[in-house]
Amino acid sequence: MKRTPALAIYAVGAYLFLHLPLLILSIFSFNSSRFTVWEGFSLRWYSAALHDSQLTEAAWNSLIIAAVATLFSTVLGTLCAYGLWKRTSRPLAGSLYLSLVTPEIVTGISLLAFYQWIFRFLHAQLGMHTVILAHVSFCLAYVVIVVIARLRTVDATLEEAALDLGANEWQAFRYVTLPAILPGVVAAGLLAFTVSFDDYVITSLVAGVDSETLPMVIYAIARRGVNPVVNAISALIVIGFGSLVMISERLRSA
């Protein structure tokens, strides 16, 4: 097949379209002016972001929520993927698939309605716990998909061999299959972390006064217009997420 130069030129344009906006935003986060005119290199917006207590507190909340939600969704999702790999369950697989395609706004308001209904019987209110539960729920499907894709590359006869040699089912899982899928599990965890950390729509609906997350603060500022401090945080998020995803991709193909 001969290479078509027109196609290659188009591809360059498409990649510029995909990457330039984030690149430009990151470059301007180092601009010393608060306006969109380059005046010189400066770290003042990074320093301003680090000294803004609302931002740092929200960043902490986001990290805590994402870490806890990742831990739970990865463990639960891995076990679930293993169970589905052994023998699929259409109702469960279908529900997880549905949760993945449900518009976020619908997931968010249904959780809000659910929490409010539960709170009639319990003395509780919206807060970190409601956000974490929501995140575990929507991260699960991502984890199951990534782990099950990895499981499909595993030779099922290895477990049979282990069972023949006297291992029980748990041992066969723990010492044979789990080590083989571990890179996939870690990749799933990293993915869950980025999905959780980034969520705005669902989080903003089920968050309480003590659980404002970083995307919520960014969103509030963005709605009022553009702010160089947000440019700086955005650049940090892009770099952070980019590294996580690249690690995750490496692990998935490892």
Partner: protein, 276 residues
């Protein structure tokens, strides 16, 4: 095996039932109830929330959502197809080029939307640049309109079309193209009569994958449309916050869910289920 498997599935079942299915059941119930005087819920059954949807104001929002999601989907396919074709012919660098498409996709959706606000607003980079160059004298209204929303959605979901298109183009039988060339077909004829028809599954999958999230979009129309470009997602959010009409908000949510499910299970015949 069955006992261990049951223990392994149980926690996820618990989460899915309590935090996904039960909440959906609750809004299903709410959608048939009546709004209370102070915005609460009154226990009297009615179909009023569904009947209100026929109001021209809401039909227009529905229509606008379909229009914006449809336009974004078509643009994604048009922009994504040549890119997928390029990647499928890129030889041993395929994975690198594919990764380059997916990378921005996994970096924060919110930040990517914000990046366009930075570029498009009145004092944003594009307007500043154009004014400096003397092309325009007053800033162009690039932000806060339907066009900006569509741009944001296309930018956000382009990878969703490239992936399935690439997957089908990759499997395409090259010998068919060689045969066509031998028989005198020009590249354009080979493209329109062989490559495009044979990549129909990828086109359908890509279209559904983009159309569904675009239809339910909330964040993009809110930030880039500036409240002027109201879509279904914004209507739902508004009913649960400012308007405090939960039954109506629930009814709209369920209609949206119904549309999504029809698209997925009837038109796409649950293709994505193979993932699980």
């Amino acid at each position: 095996m069955n006992r261990l498997r049951a223990w392994f599935l149980a926690p996820t079942w618990t989460v899915v039932i309590t935090l996904f299915l039960a909440p959906l059941a609750i809004i299903l119930g709410y959608s048939f109830l009546t709004r209370g005087v102070y915005g609460g819920i009154t226990l009297s059954w009615t179909l009023e929330s569904y009947q209100r949807l026929i109001d021209p104001i809401y039909l227009e929002i529905l229509w606008r959502s379909f229009w914006i999601a449809g336009a974004s989907t078509v643009l994604c396919l048009l922009l994504g197809f040549p890119l997928a074709l390029f990647i499928s012919r890129a030889g041993r660098h395929k994975n690198f080029y594919l990764g380059l498409v997916m990378l921005p996709f996994w970096t924060s959706f919110l930040v990517r939307t914000y990046a366009w606000m930075f570029l498009l607003r009145d004092t944003g980079l594009l307007n500043t640049l154009l004014q400096k160059l003397g092309v325009i004298h007053s800033p162009l209204p690039l932000l806060y309109n339907d066009g900006a929303v569509i741009l944001g959605l296309v930018y956000g979901y382009l990878p969703f079309t490239v992936l399935p298109l690439y997957a089908t183009l990759e499997r395409l039988d090259r010998t068919l193209l060689e045969a066509a060339a031998d028989l005198g077909a020009r590249p354009w004829a080979a493209l329109t009569r062989i490559t495009i028809p044979l990549s129909a599954p990828g086109i359908r999958a890509g279209a559904i994958l983009v159309f569904i999230p675009c239809l339910g979009a909330y964040l993009t129309p809110d930030l880039l449309g500036g409240g002027k470009s109201v879509m279904i997602g914004n209507l739902i959010q508004n009913q649960f916050t400012t308007a405090r009409d939960w039954p109506f908000g629930s009814a709209v949510s369920l209609v949206l869910m119904a549309i999504v499910m029809v698209l997925l299970f009837v038109i796409a015949r649950g293709e994505g289920e193979g993932l699980l």
